[in-house]
């Protein structure tokens, strides 16, 4: 694989090169928070971000999408598939989010295939950006998903002062940068990368010990931490869970969705829609005649925590990558790292 360097002020050349062949999405900063959005000029791009509100999951497993359309004509149904083959490039994804995508890749391609996710994933180029300024909430180092990336990228950028180190990870990555005049990287650039990695590792404020965590979580279903989380007390300095579902919507590995039919006003045609769902909402575990398998709030927050500790049905594929988004958005200040600690009996 090839290694180059590119001056920070020349990043617009790279962007313009990408824009020739792809729709480019990247981090922008419209207000106080950053978000991934379509980039059409260098002015919008904001590569010095710490974390975005929503993970780049939204490009592959969108909050809402139509699966297929159908027509109801004189009592006969005809289904029609919707397909799209748009090529996109995502610029500046941090390692935690790339790892989350790798996990979703595994999840959506086991046993049964999810053609919609895979189709979008196949048509996307990942230009990752190593994280040198972790947010105060992130703990990717503990989860083995950061701060620097080793896999899952087509092109990887690393901030090494006045320049970016540009590494390609796949043949596709090599093809994309063909035709660009880039400087070959030297040993000093690599040394600088190593130095930056060490510096970044020292900046983390949150940690989580994952040894045996799935097993510990599975075997402590009646632990008092769940009562504290769901009913009274809270964990650390948090309040009990409000079941708002914010954590699930910002989580880069949460995959749960709802499927429903949306009928046109004419009642003759409609679409089958899938929309992200949250295990924190009451309706999630409901079945016919009103029986609910997770009626208690503590059951629901326990389920989410187990899922993130790799102890639920998704296994490691839906487990935490340590991006810290859920800690940031939680109105009750629930901190997953503190829950893990308390579960181990360390608090």
């Amino acid at each position: 694989m090839k290694v180059f360097t590119i001056l920070k002020k020349d990043i617009n050349i790279l962007l313009e090169h990408f824009l020739k062949n792809f729709r480019v999405f990247g981090p922008i900063k419209p207000g106080l928070d950053s978000t991934f959005n379509e980039i059409t000029s260098i002015k919008q791009l904001h590569l010095d971000y710490t974390s975005t509100v929503l993970p780049p999951k939204k490009f592959f497993h969108p909050p809402k999408e139509a699966l297929f359309s159908f027509e109801i004509k004189n009592g006969k149904y005809a289904n029609q598939e919707i397909k799209s083959n748009e090529k996109i490039l995502i610029l500046g994804i941090h390692p935690c989010d790339v790892h989350a995508l790798l996990r979703l890749d595994k999840f959506f391609s086991d046993e049964y295939q999810d053609i919609y996710y895979q189709n979008r994933r196949k048509n996307a180029v990942i230009v990752a950006l190593n994280c040198v300024e972790p947010s105060e909430y992130s703990f990717c180092m503990s989860m083995g998903t950061g701060p620097f990336l080793n896999e899952g990228y087509d092109i990887l950028l690393t901030d090494i002062g006045t320049e970016y180190l540009l590494e390609t990870g796949t043949n596709l990555g090599n093809q994309i940068i063909e035709g660009l005049k880039l400087k070959k990287a030297t040993d000093t650039s690599f040394q600088e990368k190593k130095r930056r990695l060490k510096l970044t590792e020292k900046k983390f404020k949150k940690f989580m010990d994952t040894t045996w965590l799935p097993k510990i979580a599975q075997e402590n279903l009646d632990h008092e931490v769940w009562i504290k989380l769901g009913e009274r007390g809270g964990v650390g300095d948090s309040f009990p869970c409000l079941s708002c579902g914010s954590c699930t919507f910002v989580c880069p590995t949460c995959y749960c969705y709802d499927i429903y039919d949306k009928l046109d006003l004419s009642l003759e045609k409609g679409v089958r829609v899938r929309e992200l769902d949250s295990c924190q909402l009451l309706e999630y575990g409901e079945v016919a005649l009103g029986e609910n398998f997770r009626r208690e709030r503590k059951d629901r927050i326990r389920h989410w925590m187990l899922c993130k500790f790799a102890a639920a049905a998704g296994g490691k594929n839906s487990s935490c990558v340590g991006c810290g988004r859920c800690i940031r958005v939680c109105p009750s200040k629930i901190d997953i790292t503190k829950v893990a600690k308390e579960l181990r009996g360390w608090l």
């Binding site: 699966l67 297929f68 159908f70 109801i72 009592g75 006969k76 149904y77 289904n79 598939e81 999840f107 959506f108 086991d110 046993e111 049964y112 295939q113 999810d114 053609i115 919609y116 895979q118 599975q218 279903l221 995959y255 749960c256 969705y257 709802d258 499927i259 429903y260 039919d261 009928l263 009642l267 409609g270 089958r272 899938r274 769902d277 295990c279 999630y284 575990g285 409901e286 079945v287 016919a288 005649l289 029986e291 398998f293 389920h303 899922c307 102890a311 639920a312 049905a313 998704g314 296994g315």
Partner: protein, 276 residues
Amino acid sequence: MINEYFPNLANIKEIIKETNNTNTYILEFFDKKLSNDFSWTPGQFMMLGIPGIGESAISISNTQNGNLIYLTIRNVGNVTNYMSNMKKGESINIRGPYGMGWPLEIAKGKDIIIVAGGMGIAPLRGLINHIINNRKNYGYLEIIYGARTPDDMIFKYEFNNWNKIKNSTLHLTADQVLSETPFECKIGLVTSCFPMMKTHHRNAITLICGPEIMMRYAAKCLETIGFADEQIYLSLERRMKCGIGKCGHCQIGSKFVCKDGPVFNYADIKPFIRPL
């Protein structure tokens, strides 16, 4: 690549009225290839959809000639209520079959106790038929079927056949018996039939399906009379949206009910079934 979410059209060949709110629909795929390739094991389910209304997971109660699919449906929700007004010859969407069925291999050579409550007999009917067709492979058969009233019982036309199965007993029980019934029916819960069982737990396997509360009590009672958790299998109910282990709604512990179930060994899921 196959799009698993994309349903296939099926024709309603026949409707059998079971009770005043339950019908059995006999379906056949329009697509001849799909129809001929259809294969299933008892305990599996189909995703049945009506465009504009939604989808619902329904277990297969029987098949005929390998391509006619029997789905027994009680109208309790949006999809099933709409179904109850459908007529012979209309078409609906189905996809599947999904899930793992009853443990037919493990049950070989063992005495079999079938405990069903209400609509829970639907996924077990296929199993009973399988046992009738392969009678030599299985030991004593005990069928315990309970419902709210004898009128709520489904597959009443099968009771005579089930009574005639060699080496078997059929216990029918209802919470309330208000009028005379054409078949012998006790009063009580399914668990009240356990003392009358002729089967010993030594070499037996229990297969239960019904409302979750009934399954919990049945499993608990079986434990007290000497059954090990590993000898008990339950078929669970969840509101499935995808049927292929992706939407997450049916998770129980570290399993998906749709993909790893709906039939589970009691030992695997015991901690996740709410305590009594």
